[in-house]
């Protein structure tokens, strides 16, 4: 789809729609099973059993959860803002799904005599689109908490807002060295540039900053202050029930998958890897990130709010800026020799 055709031919459209359907199916299923996997892995870490009753090994648990969420009472606080309350969960889930459009999830394959990139849309400005969509996702938290007209929800959403924008800054800055190395915003170019060596080897610092930032962007422990069930009940989605809550919830898990996929794309060579096919490498890396997130949740306590803002503004942001300057200097000294 990189061509400048105003009207793409029908074959192209069919393939794109097929890819969109496939991607949607895969990420929704994976997100549902990620919830299940998280409960089982946390149970395993904490030496208990976890959900194992619905179906063999509890494998039908996500289906049971879906039915439960669908049949719950759909509640809207009368004093709140109905429209914003309705819109906010969608605002949290839609950008997460859309971000997946730009992630290259496998090596291009030849099908029906044409090269088919394993990517829904290979945009010139893919990385910028990711930054834009991650900014839009902040609105879900902000509007949801505000529209609920509940004090817990408001506190959670304010905290969430400040946290998300703070860590978005360090996330954006940590990707600048990646762009400098790849010399492109196009995600397929970034993957191609890592053929000789993954960027994590050249940019361990940027990778570390990016990893901490995406943990905070996912609102995961140790950065789950917007929800903080010990002090804020459920934070910004206290007043949400049924599928509205379900959308926030599934959006969070889709976000884990997408940001894991982007971390793999930016720093771990995307779908590249020896021996195995690209699809397996990519999804293996995504699941490895998901496992890491769950592991961290099972291990670390929650930060205090001042520690959280301190880490974002006083540690990660200056580190990312210094890293950009250091990378620039190093690339200049390396001269025109290709990486």
């Amino acid at each position: 789809m990189a061509g400048a055709d105003v009207i793409p031919d029908p074959m192209e459209i069919t393939l794109v729609i097929a890819k969109i359907g496939l991607v949607l199916l895969v990420i929704l299923t994976l997100a549902a099973y990620l919830v299940f996997a998280e409960r089982r892995i946390l149970a395993w870490i904490q030496d208990r059993k976890g959900p194992n009753r619905v179906g063999p090994f509890g494998l039908l648990q996500p289906l049971a959860d879906l039915i439960k969420l669908l049949t719950k009472e759909d509640f809207c606080p009368p004093a709140g803002d109905r429209w914003l309350f309705f819109l906010a969960p969608a605002m949290a889930a839609i950008p997460a799904i859309m971000t997946f459009a730009i992630v290259p999830f496998g090596a291009p394959v030849r099908i029906f005599g044409r090269d088919l990139p394993m990517q829904v849309a290979d945009l010139h400005v893919g990385l910028l689109l990711f930054m834009a969509l991650s900014s839009i996702a902040v609105y879900g938290v902000a509007l949801g908490g505000w529209a609920s007209n509940s004090k817990y929800a408001l506190l959670g959403s304010l905290r969430g807002l400040a946290q998300l924008i703070s860590y978005e800054l360090s996330m954006g800055l940590s990707l600048v060295p990646t762009v400098m190395l790849a010399r492109s915003f196009r995600l397929s170019d970034i993957v191609a540039a890592q053929e000789g060596g993954w960027f994590i080897l050249y940019q361990p610092m940027a990778f570390a900053i990016f990893l901490v930032s995406i943990l905070a962007e996912c609102k995961r422990i140790p950065f789950d202050l917007p929800e903080a069930e010990g002090e804020l009940v459920a934070g910004f989605h206290t007043e949400y029930s049924g599928m509205r809550f379900g959308l926030f919830f599934v959006g969070e898990y889709i976000n884990i998958l997408v940001l894991g996929g982007l971390a793999a794309t930016f720093f771990l060579g995307g779908w590249q890897g020896p021996l195995l096919p690209g699809l397996l490498w990519f999804w293996g890396k995504v699941l490895a990130f998901a496992f890491l997130f769950i592991w961290i949740r099972g291990t670390l306590p929650r930060l205090r709010y001042d520690q959280l803002m301190h880490l974002g503004w006083k540690v990660l942001t200056p580190m990312a800026l210094v890293n950009i300057l250091a990378t620039a200097w190093w690339l200049y000294l390396a001269g025109s020799s290709p990486l």
Binding site: A90, I94, K151, A162, S166, D306, A328
Partner: protein, 118 residues
């Protein structure tokens, strides 16, 4: 050029259908047994006092303003990063000066206590 963005728009429509559709289905399938107490904001059993949509700490505004400032700097860094090799030593020095000025502002903000939470 719009052709490249077409899949994004299709995905937006599909995702919106998923998002809005599941909420609509949930509101149709779910039971409805509302009571005055249930419609109150949840406050762990206490009677809610006043509205929640009130004034909140100025710190959050400050963080939002700082974010806007620093994010714009970040936006300046991106085009430079793409063209870094082509700009050569000129680009290196120019961006060095830019980041140093940015750092001066950052230190000012820090010293003014804008990054403190107590």
């Amino acid at each position: 050029m719009l052709g490249a963005y077409l899949p994004i728009i299709v995905l937006l429509v599909v995702a919106a259908c998923f998002g809005l559709g599941s909420v609509v289905v949930s509101s149709l399938v779910g039971q409805k047994k509302l009571s005055p107490v249930k419609l109150q904001p949840y406050e762990c059993g206490c009677e809610p006092v006043g509205s929640a949509q009130e004034r909140f700490s100025i710190k959050f505004y400050l963080i939002a303003m700082l974010f806007i400032l620093f994010d714009i700097e970040c936006v300046f860094l991106y085009p430079w990063a793409v063209l870094f090799k082509r700009l050569g030593v000129f680009g290196l020095i120019e961006m060095g000066v830019f980041v140093v000025i940015l750092f001066v502002g950052y230190i000012y903000v820090w010293k003014k206590g804008a990054l403190e939470w107590e």
